[in-house]
Amino acid sequence: MSAVDLPVQADAQGVAERIPGLWKPPIVMGVFTILVALLVLVSPRDGDSTFRWSREGDWFAIPDVSLPANLIVWVAVLLCLLCTAYAAWRSYSRLKTPLVVVAAFALFAVSGFLAWAVAGKTLPVVGLLAGALALAVPLVFGALGGVLGERAGVVNIAIDGQLLFGAFGAAITASLTGSPWAGLVAAMVAGMLVALLLGLFAITYWVEQVIVGVVLNVLVIGFTSFMFSQVLSENAGTLNNPPHFPRLEIPLLSGVPVLGPIFFRQTILVYVMYAAVFLVAWALYRSKWGLRVRAVGEHPKAADTVGIDVIATRYRTVLLAGAIVGIGGATYTLVSVPSFGREMTGGAGYIALAAVIFGKWDPIKATLAALLFGFASNVESVLSVIGSPVPSQFMLMLPYVVTIFAVAGLVGHSRAPAADGVPYRKG
C-alpha cells in the first residue's frame, strides 16, 4: 500500500511487461477460437441451422434465419479472430481489452457453437433465452444474497441451504394458506432463519465461516429431507401442494419481438428480481447503508472506531441477504415445479456462490454471471431436447469449469472484500 508506486507508463519497458494478465485476454480468446474452428474441422456438419426468433403474441414476426451450419461457424471463427486480433493489439500497446470486445467474442463463439450443434434442426432462440432467464432466477437471488453477505465480511457457503429451506418454507406455507404470497414471505423468513444461524456461529462465535456454511447445508438437507419423508409425503395434499404464481404479461412490453417474450412474459418473482438487482446495486454504492456495509467488510475496526456497530451491521446485512436468497428458494416451489422434493435445489447455491466470485463481489456483475450460468444449463436442456452431438454431461459441467478458470485468475484479477470471512473480535 505504502509502496513506491512508480507510474507504469513512465517507466522502462521491462517494468510495464510485468503487468499481470495483460496477455491473458488474447491468449484465452485465441484458444477458444481454435476450439470453435476445430469443431468444423474435426466434425463438419451437414445441413442448415435454423434460428427461430419469433413467438406468438409478438407485434410482428421476425422471420427464421436459416443458413448452412458450416458457413455460420466459419463466419463466427472469422469474427472471433478479429476480436482476438484486436485484443492482441491492445495488449501489445499495453492497454486492457475492453469488456465489450470480450462480450462480443463470447457472443460470436457461442453462436458458432450453437450453429454447429443444431445443424439440420431449428433452435428456438427466444425459448432458449427465456428459459435461461427462468433458470437463472434462483441463482440471481442467491448471488445477490451472497454478494451482500461477503461485502459485509461474512462468507456465505450456506446459500444452497437458504434456497432449499426457502423452497421448503414456501411450499408448506403456500399449501396451508392457499396463497403464494404467504409462501413468499415464509421463504424469506426461512432464508433469514438459516442466516441467523450463520450469523450466530460466524459473527458471534467466530466459527470458521466455510465450515459453518458447509455444515448448515448438511443441516438443512437433513432437516428438510426428514420432514419430507416423515410429514410431507404422508400429507402431500395439504402440506405439499402449493399454489403457484401465474405468468404475468406486462402490457405493451411483452409484445416486443425477442425481448418481450424473454423479459416481460414472466412471473412476478422475475420482476421482483429486476427490482432487487437494481436496489441492491444502488444501495450498496450510493447509500449511507451501503457505505457502512462495505466499510464493515473491508476494515471492521476502522468502522468501529467511527462509531459503527460492526456486529449489528453484519447481522442486519446477513439477515437481509438471507431474505433475498429465500425469495430465490421460493421460485422453486412457487414457480418452477409442482411441489417440494428432497434436495431439490441440486446444488444451485454453489453455482450462485460461483457467480458471486465470478462477478467479483459486484451485484450487477454477479447477476450477469448467474444469467450466464442459467444460459449454460438451458443450452444443455434445449440441445438435449433437439438432439445434439455433445454429451449433456459436458454441457452441464460448463458453469463449474468456467468458475474454476475464473478463480484461477484466467479471466481476470479479482479482489475480495479485505475482511471477507474474518470474524470481528472487539478488543
Binding site: 465450515i211 437433513g222 459436458f394 474474518v422
Partner: protein, 425 residues
C-alpha cells in the same frame, strides 16, 4: 482448527495482537522478576481445561444435538400429534406417546448400532456393531484425508468428487481387467487412490500456482467429477455395463472385492482394516515425518514457512494429493467393499460431506477422526435400523451430525446453554 482460517489471513489490527501494548508482553517480560511461569501451573491449566474445556464440551455437544434430534422425532411422531389433539383432555397420553417415540427411537438406534438383544442368534445380536464398523471405514478414510488438509491450513470440500473419481477408477480396473486376486485387488485399490490423488491435486496445483481459493475449486470439482463419472457410466467403452441402459457399471468380479473380515455372515470387510492402517499412517505423517512437519508449519503460518525455505506450493499440492488419495480410498471402499454390485454416480453416498464433520469432530487428529468415524458410523448403522423398525427417516442422522459439529465449534455457546463457567478472556 475450526476457528482457523485456511490461509492465516492477516489478523486484523486487533489491539491485542498488533498494537505495541501486546498483552502477552507482561506475561514473561525479560526484565520481570517473576520470569518463569512455573510448570506446575500448566498442570493446573490442563486440569481446568478438562473441566471447563474441550472434553466436556464435546460430550455436551453430542448430548445437545441428540436432544434436538429427539425434539424432531417428538413433534413429527403421529401418535404424539394425535395425543396433542386432545392434550387438555388427557395430557398423560401425549407424554406417554412422546416417551414411546423417543425411547423407541433410541433403543432401535442402539440395536442397530451396537447390540441387538432381539436377535435370535449370537451372530444376529452382534451384527450391528460390525455394521457400525463397516460404515465407519469410509467415513474414517475420507475424514483422515480432509483432516490432513485442515492441518495444512486447507479446506478440502471436494470429498465427493475425489470419492467418485477414486471409486470409478477402482471399478474400471476391477471390471476391465482379469487378474488373480493377489494382483487385481491391490491394483484396483491403487488405481482408485492414484486417480483421486491426481484429482485432489488439481486444487493444490491451482492454489500453488494462481492462488485460487481451494474451497471454491474443490466445490466446483465435485460437480465436474460427478458429470465426468456420469459420462463414463454412459459409455460402454469406459464403465457402463455391456448391454445395459442404466448408468451403472457391471458388478465387481470376485478377484477385486475386499475380503470379508469375519466371514460371510457379516458385511464387515477389509475396508475397515484399510481405515485403521490409514489412521496409523496419517498419524506418522503428521507427527513424525518431516513432510507432516511442513504441512503443519504451512497450515499454521504459511508466510513464516515460506520465509524459512519451505516450499509452500509443494506442501499444498502434496497435502491435497495425499488427502485425495485417502478420500479416494473411501470411494474404493464403497465400490469394492460395501456396494459391490456395480459403481454408480451415487457411490459417494454423501460421505464426502459427512467426512468434513468427522474431521471436525475428530479435531483433525488421526485417532480422533477414527473415533469420530466410528461414532458417526454407529449413527448411520443405527439410523438405517431405526428407519426400518420405527419409520423414522435416516436423514435425522444428518441433522444430529451437523448440530454436533456446530456446537463443537462454538464452545462458548454450549457453555452458555449449560451455564458452565467460561474461561477468563
Amino acid at each position: 482448527m475450526s476457528e482457523k482460517g485456511p490461509e492465516n489471513e492477516p489478523v486484523e489490527n486487533e489491539p491485542v495482537e498488533t498494537s505495541d501494548d501486546r498483552i502477552g508482553e507482561g506475561l514473561m517480560d525479560s526484565s520481570s522478576d517473576a520470569d518463569r511461569v512455573p510448570e506446575a501451573s500448566r498442570w493446573h491449566l490442563a486440569l481446568r481445561e478438562i473441566t471447563t474445556g474441550n472434553a466436556l464440551v464435546a460430550v455436551l455437544s453430542v448430548l445437545l444435538a441428540m436432544f434436538f434430534g429427539s425434539l424432531m422425532i417428538l413433534f413429527t411422531d403421529e401418535d404424539v400429534r394425535y395425543g396433542l389433539s386432545y392434550f387438555f383432555a388427557r395430557p398423560s397420553d401425549t407424554f406417554y406417546y412422546g416417551w414411546e417415540a423417543i425411547s423407541g427411537a433410541y433403543v432401535s438406534l442402539w440395536r442397530g448400532a451396537v447390540f441387538n438383544d432381539l436377535g435370535g442368534t449370537f451372530t444376529q445380536q452382534i451384527k450391528p456393531i460390525t455394521e457400525t464398523l463397516k460404515f465407519a471405514a469410509p467415513l474414517t478414510l475420507a475424514g483422515l484425508g480432509i483432516g490432513l488438509t485442515f492441518r495444512a491450513g486447507l479446506f478440502n470440500i471436494g470429498g465427493r468428487g475425489q470419492m467418485l473419481l477414486g471409486g470409478a477408477a477402482a471399478a474400471f480396473v476391477a471390471v476391465k481387467l482379469d487378474l488373480p486376486m493377489i494382483v487385481h485387488l491391490p491394483l484396483a485399490i491403487l488405481a482408485g487412490a492414484l486417480v483421486a490423488a491426481l484429482w485432489g491435486g488439481i486444487a493444490g496445483i491451482l492454489k500453488a500456482l494462481t492462488g485460487a481459493h481451494e474451497v471454491i475449486v474443490t466445490i466446483m470439482l465435485n460437480y465436474v467429477g460427478y458429470y465426468l463419472v456420469f459420462y463414463a457410466l454412459t459409455r460402454e467403452s469406459l464403465l457402463q455395463a455391456p448391454g445395459s441402459a442404466n448408468p451403472k457399471s457391471a458388478p465387481m468380479p470376485e478377484s477385486a472385492i475386499l475380503p470379508d473380515l469375519l466371514g460371510p455372515q457379516f458385511n464387515l470387510h477389509a475396508g475397515f482394516l484399510l481405515a485403521v492402517l490409514a489412521t496409523f499412517l496419517v498419524w506418522w505423517i503428521l507427527n513424525r515425518s518431516s513432510l507432516g512437519y511442513r504441512f503443519r508449519a504451512v497450515g499454521e503460518n504459511p508466510a513464516a514457512a515460506r520465509a524459512a525455505g519451505i516450499n509452500v506450493g509443494v506442501a499444498y499440492v502434496s497435502a491435497f494429493m495425499i488427502s485425495g488419495a485417502l478420500v479416494g480410498l473411501a470411494g474404493v471402499n464403497q465400490v469394492l467393499g460395501s456396494v459391490t454390485d456395480g459403481a454408480t454416480s451415487g457411490l459417494d453416498a454423501a460421505i464426502g460431506f459427512d467426512a468434513i464433520t468427522v474431521a471436525l469432530l475428530g479435531r483433525s487428529r488421526p485417532f480422533g477422526i477414527l473415533a469420530a468415524g466410528v461414532l458417526f458410523g454407529a449413527f448411520k448403522s443405527g439410523g438405517f435400523f431405526m428407519q426400518a423398525s420405527e419409520g423414522i427417516p435416516v436423514d435425522i442422522v444428518l441433522v444430529v451430525q451437523s448440530l454436533i459439529v456446530l456446537f463443537l465449534a462454538a464452545p462458548p455457546l454450549v457453555k452458555a446453554i449449560f451455564r458452565l463457567p467460561t474461561k477468563e478472556a
